[in-house]
């Protein structure tokens, strides 16, 4: 694999199946991640999408940004719908009703659709072992409805339902660890990725395509609108999230944990929090408290490096 820090545009897959003309905000790293994922997945892919930003911005009838088959049913069930598409194709091929060929089925949703309302449907699909990929595009809140907190919102982040105030430092709970919950289903492949590290992301999508059974990808998706930051900083913030240990890049292949971009020297958390308006209200003591927790979590991950979980 190319070094995760190297990016040469010409080495990147060129065909787009999520095309321009969509209505995403300026600087949306989620839409960038969606495009990258589908550049790798290619033409023979069917997508089941949850309700959310990516659905709203890509499918306003009569327009569509999808050049591949795509279905949206509801908010909490994209994993179930994807598992149905996979099941349907598989049995039709077995019964000789459609030609046998490789078609990649993908379920996708934001962090709310994955970590909150859709967790049950996701768990069911992972447990049943469908041959599908589920991608969570994590922008750490309900952005589509106006920046409300989810269980994936990090501690201290101000959202419209976890506002900072005299009695509040913003989100009062720690980010739910969905990749590890996915891994606890003993599925063959789980990975975290970020569009700020495109070649790492490409490699992970490729691996997810190769495994037999469910693969889960959790992709960091910087949301300048919801995080109250400059759109041009989206990629930089994605890198800082990794470099500070806030969003480590790792994969769990057949149970074995591998940190893909080891960061023995974590950058000060302040570097990551500062440019984001959602953390503007935090005082130094709270930042120190968060940093302690973030770094402890990262060290915990380091200790499990190379281990079969």
């Amino acid at each position: 694999m190319e070094g995760p820090n190297v990016f040469a545009a010409r080495l990147f897959p060129q065909d787009n199946f999520f095309v321009s003309g969509h209505r995403a905000c300026q600087g949306c790293a989620e839409v960038l991640a969606v495009r990258m994922v589908h550049q790798v997945l290619g033409r023979n892919t069917i997508v089941a999408s949850a309700t959310g930003c990516m659905e709203i911005i890509s499918s306003s009838y009569p327009d569509t940004a999808w050049a591949i088959p795509w279905i949206h049913v509801a908010f909490e069930n994209s994993a179930a719908v994807a598992s149905g598409v996979e099941t349907g194709l598989d049995i039709l091929m077995k019964k000789g009703k459609i030609p046998r060929r490789r078609i990649q089925v993908v379920g996708m949703g934001g962090d709310g659709a994955t970590a909150d309302i859709g967790l049950q449907a996701l768990s069911g699909a992972l447990e049943r072992g469908h041959n599908m990929i589920y991608v969570c595009y994590d922008n750490e809140a309900y952005m589509n409805t106006g920046i409300q907190r989810s269980s994936s919102t990090p501690f201290g982040a101000a959202t419209t339902t976890s506002p900072a105030g005299k009695q509040s430092q913003g989100q009062s709970t720690w980010k739910k660890n969905i990749p590890m919950i996915a891994a606890a289903h003993n599925i063959p492949y789980v990975a975290t990725a970020s569009p700020s590290y495109p070649f790492d992301l490409v490699a992970k999508v490729k691996k997810a395509m190769k495994v037999k059974g469910p693969a889960y990808l959790h992709i960091f998706s910087c949301c300048p609108t919801g995080w109250r930051m400059k759109p041009e900083l989206a990629i930089a913030i994605g890198r800082l999230a990794v470099q500070t240990g806030s969003f480590p890049l790792y994969e769990i292949e057949n149970g074995k944990l591998e940190i893909n971009l080891p960061t023995p020297e974590l950058r000060p958390l302040k570097d990551y929090l500062k440019p984001q308006g959602r953390f503007r209200h935090l005082d130094d003591a709270t930042i120190a408290e968060i940093e302690l927790r973030v770094q402890a979590e990262y060290r915990k991950l380091e200790r499990r490096q190379g281990q079969v979980l």
């Binding site: 033409r43 023979n44 892919t45 069917i46 089941a48 659905e55 709203i56 499918s59 306003s60 009838y61 009569p62 569509t64 999808w66 050049a67 591949i68 088959p69 795509w70 279905i71 949206h72 049913v73 509801a74 909490e76 069930n77 179930a80 719908v81 994807a82 598992s83 149905g84 598409v85 996979e86 099941t87 349907g88 194709l89 598989d90 049995i91 039709l92 077995k94 019964k95 009703k97 459609i98 078609i103 049950q120 449907a121 768990s123 069911g124 699909a125 447990e127 049943r128």
Partner: protein
């Protein structure tokens, strides 16, 4: 050749889903529906039916999986009851809006609370507006026949809508009755291979389930309303085709002893059979009583109902569900049917058999007496709950 055998209604339904060569069954256990999907999973396990059985983690996912499998082009069956149907609620509207022809058996059961596993129609009545074709069976034969027919209608490209076949929990689902079980060849002759209107195909990519902005939402709803209303033609046509193939004729609205009746009682579902026995007994005594059996619930067969009632001046309506604070669902529909008609019956409302409350012949006698009293010029009584312990 069809075989005459004794079968539990649930097993009969499962058997014909096999004869229909369903590709996928996606379901979650709930009483009293479970015998259907248990038997189907056995058929799959024994290799009698080549299908994928998806044992999902909830009814919400059962219906969501159905969306995916039908969108992929697979003939799909599911079954549920009560709370399960309620949990599917959100998705039911979307399945029909996406024109995905799922066939679902609904083993009708009351809704919580209090929790009750027993029979009434409160589950399906809460799903009136889901945009599905909804039909009721009276006995095991009808349950299996309407399931076969359900696939034919649902997959008819003029319709391409999901179909719910309702049959009463326990009093029908768990009853062993003699049935004529069709053979595989005649079912296959009646039911062509599933050719979906649209499917998720990588060679011809489509976007299914896009955002309906205000510019388009109204038109989308109009289209849905139209296709369901206009499914009436194909419904009658395919019921006739069923009669030609299998010799059993079903109609959107059927009657019993209605021709010379002075009063009529309208029933839906399995109580229709008890009602017929009750009518027979009263007819022997000379009372001119008849029945209207409403089989098709959606699209609502207004004209058939008007024809069935004709000039009969008194119509009792049996509801198996209540609408707290409002009129009971079937009575409400019946009144709406006749409101603009010059010739309209006096409508007497009965609520019957809630949550498994038994409805013996004596209860029918009571309802008939009420209807006859109204016929003799008595006042129309207020809506009454029959069999209430007071």
């Amino acid at each position: 050749m069809e075989k005459r055998i004794g079968l539990e209604a649930s097993i009969a339904v499962a058997e014909v889903v096999g004869l229909c060569d369903a590709d996928v069954i996606s379901a979650y256990p709930i009483t009293p529906q479970t015998h259907i999907v248990e038997h189907l999973s056995e058929m799959v396990a024994d290799g009698e039916l080549q299908a994928a059985f998806v044992p999902v983690e909830s009814e919400h996912s059962a219906m969501s999986v159905c969306c995916g499998t039908v969108a992929a082009g697979a003939r799909t069956f599911t079954a549920t009851s009560s709370q399960g149907l309620a949990l599917m609620h959100e998705i039911l509207f979307i399945v029909s809006a996406l024109r995905l022809p799922v066939v679902m058996a609904v083993a009708n059961r009351s809704l919580s609370g209090p929790i009750s596993i027993w029979n009434d129609h409160s589950d399906v009545m809460a799903e009136r507006d889901i945009g599905w074709v909804q039909i009721f069976a009276e006995n095991a034969q009808e349950a299996l026949d309407l399931t076969i027919w359900g696939f034919r209608l649902a997959e008819d490209q003029r319709v391409s809508l999901p179909v719910a076949v309702n049959f009463d929990g326990f009093i029908l689902t768990h009853t062993i009755e003699p049935v004529l079980m069709p053979d595989r060849e005649s079912v296959q002759a009646f039911l062509p291979a599933f050719e979906p209107l649209m499917r998720l195909d990588v060679d011809q990519p489509i976007t299914m389930g896009p955002v309906g902005i205000p510019d388009i939402y109204t038109e989308a709803k109009k289209a849905h309303q139209e296709v369901l209303t206009q499914s009436y033609g194909p419904i009658v046509e395919t019921l006739d085709a069923f009669a030609k193939s299998f010799g059993r004729q079903y109609l959107p609205v059927e009657t019993y002893c209605a021709d010379d009746a002075e009063v009529l009682l309208l029933t839906m579902g399995a109580l229709g059979e008890t009602a017929m026995t009750a009518v027979d007994q009263r007819r022997e005594k000379g009372d001119k009583i008849g029945l209207v059996r409403l089989r098709l619930w959606r699209p609502f067969p207004f004209d058939d109902l008007i024809r069935a009632v004709g000039k009969v001046p008194v119509l009792g309506v049996m509801d198996r569900a209540i609408s707290p604070g409002g009129p009971s669902p079937v009575a409400s529909e019946v009144k709406a049917t006749f409101y603009q008609q010059e010739q309209r019956p006096k409508v007497v409302e009965f609520t019957v058999g809630l949550g498994g409350r038994d409805t013996p012949l004596s209860d029918f006698d009571g309802m008939f007496d009420t209807l006859l009293a109204v016929h003799r010029g008595g006042e129309i009584p207020k809506p009454t709950i029959i069999g209430l312990r007071e």
